[in-house]
């Protein structure tokens, strides 16, 4: 939309760190991204990456006490900037998801971080103030230029 190119939209959603809440939040996020005119392929990629990251947090991130997860998506012209923060224990993602499990292994898990890496750019993990901060970008499909450009 031409008339919205100077408006930036950030969506900030929060929920308790449980698998159920995380999935409800993801559904809501997808609806809002849809309403904000994010192209469907980009929206699907973002939803998948967020699902993998958030499900990991809810599953592996806190055994005893639940904490709040914050998921911020900034809608830019050429992609989505995402930032996920949670109160789970620190971990080291540097070795995770470098390859996907071989198909013939018929693995029932272990695909999450591979998908996160595969669909994002600028992936960054930080530990700060007792929180994990995961930042990444879900790039948009390249914008095709019209054959003729109208000058005004």
């Amino acid at each position: 939309m031409t008339d919205s190119k100077d408006i930036t939209v950030d969506l900030v959603l929060r929920c308790e760190s449980s698998v159920e809440d995380v999935c409800v939040m993801l559904t809501r996020m997808e609806q809002l991204l849809d309403k904000a005119d994010v192209p469907s392929a980009q929206r699907q990629d973002a939803a998948l990456v967020m699902a993998e990251a958030l499900t990991n947090i809810a599953r592996h991130g806190n055994d005893a006490q639940r904490g709040e997860i914050t998921c911020r998506v900034s809608i830019a012209q050429d992609g989505l900037e995402c930032r996920i923060t949670d109160h789970g224990p620190a971990f080291d993602p540097s070795g995770l998801g470098l390859a996907s499990p071989p198909p013939e292994a018929l693995a029932e898990g272990g695909y999450g971080w591979f998908l996160i890496r595969r669909l994002t750019t600028g992936l960054q993990y930080q530990r700060r103030d007792g929180q994990n901060i995961l930042c990444f970008r879900v790039p948009g499909t390249p914008v095709e230029l019209p054959v003729s450009v109208q000058m005004s």
Binding site: V19, C23, A51, E52, S100, E104, Y111, F114
Partner: protein, 114 residues
């Protein structure tokens, strides 16, 4: 977990998933429901996924789990993958271990004697 179950004339068991999301919240109940449904006769088992517009690695894991439950002599096949679901299979190369149909085959009502 809503499923619609039928058979083809060739004897395949067709389980059409009526959910829109296969994610971590439903992965377990999905696996249970398919296992129950697959107690009916029919081979191969063809899983219809045309309603599923979102599937993450938990959903993929559940489908792999079902495949292993069915055992080697009763293959699990997939049909009607939406673009988002297809992408997860392609990226993980798990599209190489399932036979994937474009759409569900024609079916008839389930034979109760089956």
């Amino acid at each position: 977990m809503q499923l619609s179950i039928a058979q083809t004339d060739e004897g395949a068991l067709v389980i059409d998933v009526q959910e829109t999301r296969l994610d971590a919240a439903v992965a377990l109940s999905f696996k249970d429901a398919i296992r129950n449904a697959a107690e009916r006769a029919g081979s191969p088992v063809i899983l219809g996924l045309s309603r599923v517009d979102f599937m993450d690695s938990s959903g993929l894991g559940a489908i792999v789990g079902v495949m292993k439950l069915l055992g080697g002599d009763r293959p699990l096949e997939l049909a009607g993958l939406t673009p988002g679901v297809k992408k997860v299979f392609r990226l993980t190369r798990m599209d190489t271990v399932f036979r994937i149909h474009d759409s569900l085959p024609a079916t008839r009502a389930l034979s109760e004697a089956g």
